[in-house]
Amino acid sequence: QQQVKQSPQSLIVQKGGISIINCAYENTAFDYFPWYQQFPGKGPALLIAIRPDVSEKKEGRFTISFNKSAKQFSLHIMDSQPGDSATYFCAARAPGTYKYIFGTGTRLKVLA
């Protein structure tokens, strides 16, 4: 119940295309859902995050879609660029804590 399932494991997208990464969770008490971006040899960095009372959040080319009833949320990267090539992690915050459960990661490669 504390798991966050992320898919796909890897993704190859052409430059200018849309990248979509999906996450699903079981615990309906999770109360905050961030996405992190990690470049090789670096630590993860916060990309965008959403509260469970919001269905969509957009920041530039990055959008989170949140479906509370389906217990799913996804990251959409519009107009994907080679510089977006990285590993992306979704996460969910355990209720009443500041601890996060992370997905297993998606390695995105954007072809020039």
Binding site: P34, G43, P44, R51, F89, Y100, F102
Partner: protein, 114 residues
């Protein structure tokens, strides 16, 4: 602002050896975390701390110990290194807010146990 710093960057240990991974943050964050990252497994929480003198176990604490004597420092101790502890270790810190409590990660320590 250096953010979160970790030392060393790389380390090779022999089975049974001990070592301490250092983590320091200069953002005056109350919360600090240690994660390990294994290929295809995401980030697993080892230990976390909500402030000086207070620590608690995460998902995978076995084989590790932590202490938090100051707000800035959160070292992770491996007492008897085992090959299963080969991993990349990340330290992170955050300020507790209901929303937007971003975790700031250090650059990581790559540990190999042979």
């Amino acid at each position: 602002n250096a953010g979160v710093t970790q030392t060393p960057k790389f380390r090779i240990l022999k089975i049974g050896q001990s070592m301490t991974l250092q983590c320091t943050q200069d953002m005056n964050h109350n919360y600090m975390y240690w994660y390990r990252q294994d290929p295809g497994m995401g980030l697993k929480l080892i230990y976390y701390s909500v402030g000086a003198g207070i620590t608690d176990k995460g998902e995978v604490p076995n084989g590790y110990n932590v202490s938090r004597s100051t707000t800035e420092d959160f070292p992770l101790r491996l007492e008897l290194a085992a090959p299963s502890q080969t991993s990349v270790y990340f330290c992170a810190s955050s300020y507790p807010r209901e929303f937007g409590n971003e975790q700031f990660f250090g650059p990581g320590t790559r540990l190999t146990v042979l």
